[in-house]
């Protein structure tokens, strides 16, 4: 009976909610400042994949129908999304750790509404996704990735932050369901599948037919293509941009709803 009465006492107050979100973002930043090594896998893995895939599959650009002459420019948006995916999954793993150690119970027992707790976790992930993105872009430009123009770069950054938020919602949903860091592979595999079963390696017309079919129904294909356009053509167009923004918005709405459902079902 008491457990039911607690949520009724939670009232939404904008100022205190913003303060709570800020505190959660600061806590996530503190983790990075105090244990800088924790950010290394999230930066290293997509960078290694970017360098490795460019070196290994670089000759694919020689195939008729390939849309760019440098594979680095083609693959960098995929690596940016992977970096965001790793970062978001790390948010889920950190939450699972907090649940295992009992720290999250204290947050649940606080008067903060559940959506505010989720906002803190998700926004910290979206900002944290900028760390691998910055490193990747620096490495990429040094290795000859085409300059996407300021609008193209801003669009790519916006989509990376959105993907980081999406991955964080996915990680949070799984962390709340399994309440164990053992779910980490599932958090990473989910984003891995979502990002790579797209036009990640080659343009749609050069994919094997089965992957072409999967990529055409995978909404993240539009996100990857939206982020890619600047790097491949040097400019962006509305017709290439809106499908990515809409797809990401729809996926975010779905995943936020699932994560909130998980939060509401979690008792302490």
């Amino acid at each position: 009976m008491e457990a039911h009465s607690i949520p009724l006492e939670r009232r939404f107050d904008l100022a205190s909610s913003l303060e709570m979100v800020r505190a959660l973002i600061r806590r996530a930043a503190n983790e990075l400042l105090r244990v800088p090594g924790a950010a290394i896998p999230g930066v290293l893995a997509p960078t290694i994949f970017f360098l490795g895939l460019s070196a290994v599959f670089g000759s694919l650009t020689l195939l008729p129908g390939f849309t760019t002459d440098t594979y680095q420019s083609f693959i960098i948006p995929v690596s940016l999304m992977q970096g965001a995916g790793f970062t978001g999954a790390a948010t889920g793993v950190n939450l699972a750790r907090d649940i295992e150690q009992g720290w999250f119970d204290r947050l649940l027992a606080s008067p903060a509404p559940r959506p505010v707790l989720l906002a803190g976790l998700v926004l910290s992930a979206s900002f944290r996704a900028l760390i691998p993105a910055t490193v990747l872009l620096a490495v990429g430009f040094a290795l000859g990735v085409h300059w996407p123009g300021v609008p193209g770069l801003l669009l790519a950054v916006l989509l990376v932050m959105g993907m980081g938020s999406l991955a964080a919602c996915w990680g949070v949903t799984l962390a709340l369901k399994f309440k164990s860091q053992a779910a980490a592979p599932l958090m990473q595999a989910g984003m891995f599948v979502l990002i790579l079963f797209t036009t990640a390696y080659a343009p749609q017309q050069l994919l094997q037919p089965w992957l072409g079919d999967v990529a055409s129904i995978n909404p993240v294909t539009h996100v990857v293509e939206g982020a890619r356009q600047g790097f491949v053509t040097g400019s962006i167009s509305w017709s290439e941009t809106w499908p990515g923004v809409v797809a990401l918005g729809g996926l975010l709405a779905l995943m936020v709803a699932l994560a909130l459902r998980g939060m509401r079902r979690t008792s302490y």
Partner: protein
């Protein structure tokens, strides 16, 4: 003498069985060995499959035939890393200390873990052979070739498992061994695991020409796509033997150091 050997062999078998069960029970140990290489195989085959049309690409039935060996070797590298993580967790939890206090040869600790990793290697080889056959690949050397692949992949897993064990024994930290995960991909990308070395970009192409991992992959790949040449066989076998010897020596040194310093 024979009794002592039998006891040690039994300990190796028990520890090996424990290691295999541990891997199957923990998704975080199993996922890198089977799930990630399978997903990557699907993505790379579907995404870069048209590479077979590039001039200079070896004659193959399909890109999947070419990629199978790379997926298997990737799985063995990750099995070695996962085995190292599990061993480090045993050290952190004090399980290794209890074994060290038991009246058994200390090196059976390492051999038991490696026996388990070799079994996981065999499982991975069978898994990828099954995946390949289901999705249209063919094994050029037939059943003997498939058996040869399972043997080569098992010994490769053992060799890389030794490196994971050496690092686990030296550091005693699961997070440090886990942190080496990305390096597995550096070694893979600098070999001919995913693409013919002659079509890779420099400097990766030159490194791949001398990377022992390329020799291992090409030995396994030959059994899938053509008839195994003596040169490829010896290069693969010597590479596996070299890495296994080095990793066993390093594991032994790390174990002795741990026994001497207590940590």
């Amino acid at each position: 003498m024979t009794d002592r050997l039998l006891v040690n062999l039994r300990v190796v078998a028990v520890l090996g069985r424990r290691s295999v069960r541990q891997t199957f029970r923990r998704p975080q140990l199993m996922a890198p060995i089977i799930i990630f290489p399978t997903l990557l195989l699907a993505i790379q085959t579907g995404g870069a499959g048209r590479a077979v049309d590039l001039p200079g690409f070896p004659q193959v039935n399909g890109f999947l035939d070419f990629m199978l060996a790379g997926a298997m070797v990737q799985s063995t590298l990750l099995a070695g890393n996962s085995g190292g993580i599990a061993m480090a967790v045993d050290i952190e939890m004090g399980f290794t200390d209890r074994l060290l206090a038991a009246p058994i040869s200390r090196f059976t600790l390492v051999l038991g873990r490696l026996a388990g990793t070799a079994v996981l290697g065999a499982f991975s080889a069978c898994w990828f052979l099954a995946i390949g056959l289901i999705f249209g690949a063919s094994i050029a050397e037939g059943v003997p070739g498939a058996i040869g692949i399972v043997v080569l992949v098992s010994f490769t897993a053992l060799a890389f498992g030794g490196i994971g064990a050496a690092i686990a024994l030296r550091t005693g930290s699961a997070s440090i061994v886990q942190g080496l995960f990305p390096l597995v991909f550096v070694v893979l990308f600098l070999s001919s695991a995913f693409f013919p070395a002659n079509l890779m970009l420099e400097p990766a192409a030159s490194v791949a020409d001398y990377n022992p991992l390329s020799f291992i992959v090409e030995g396994i790949r030959d059994l899938v796509i053509t008839t195994l040449s003596a040169e490829a066989f010896w290069k693969a076998t010597l590479s596996i033997a070299g890495i296994a010897t080095l990793s066993l020596v390093l594991s032994n040194l790390a174990l002795r150091r741990r026994l001497r310093t207590g940590g």
